[in-house]
Amino acid sequence: MSEQDIVIIGLALATFAIRIGGFYLGSRLPETGFWAASFNALPGCLIASLLAVMLVAGGTQEYIAAGLSLTIALTTRNLPLTMVAGILSIWALRHFEMFV
């Protein structure tokens, strides 16, 4: 078996274990009070954290493009439009070498 096959099989098994393990872990936690409030807040907190980690890796151009995307997202509430705005603004900032 090649090294590539080992990685594919190993990563597939480990990833599936994580996915199914999360569900069983979640099922065992109480449905009211502290844990329920934490769980309901989890989606927003996780996406906020993900965005923070993505943006920390970027520079001024990424921050400006993110700010423009946020403005479009808040005013239009439209996902495809926000994606297009984000791509166009980062492309323009890089192409015209603004705020390097």
Partner: protein, 239 residues
Amino acid sequence: MRKTSEYYTGVMDITPLAMGVAVYGVAFGLLAAQAQMSSLQTAMMGLFVFAGGSQIVATERLVADAGAIAAITAGVALNLRMLLMTAALRDDLKGRPLWQILLGAHYTTDENWALLHAKRAKGVDVGYWYFISGGAFIMLIWIISTVAGVSFASLVPEPKSIGVDFAFTAAFIAILCSLWRGKEDLFPWIISISTAVLLASLAPIETSWALVIGGVVGALSAGVLSGKSRDYDLESVGG
């Protein structure tokens, strides 16, 4: 919502995100070509691993000659967040036949998971089949685009040169806006963001850990806050 209409809206809503996935798929295919993976291996990896970020990280480790164990470890570290994601799906999966639980778990991606919660935050009644159809469509696009990337590696432009590397950053900004439930979210989100930023930039750990710890700490702070506000309510009722 009925099952067939959930299926239909699930695919419709995920389509812009699936276009972003296609770009990443082609980029991953280029990397797979550098790691000397065949089209079949690339397709199998997409089908059975089905986690783009971890596939990219693991394959990048292979290209860097770090060995299979290091490649798997890096991929697993990036997938730790999925533990929290499928945990938050408990009410959607509980009580279903085993095959539907396994399918739902395997079809969990950042895109359909975030979209499910964003729709609900807007008050739209969507459920299991909405989530599954989004996941299935993402998988289809992911496999097609990764195989296209590995097969036509020499013809593809670099994503960064045309700005499409920013597609998911913008998408998650829009999704975060629709996840806003009200002012009770402000403090937990600030906690999440500042924890993640501090850990990612200062602590000597993988950024995946910073992401997971940031998410957990923020969610726990929401739990603590809800306890406080309930105590306050009880006091004001009692007084």
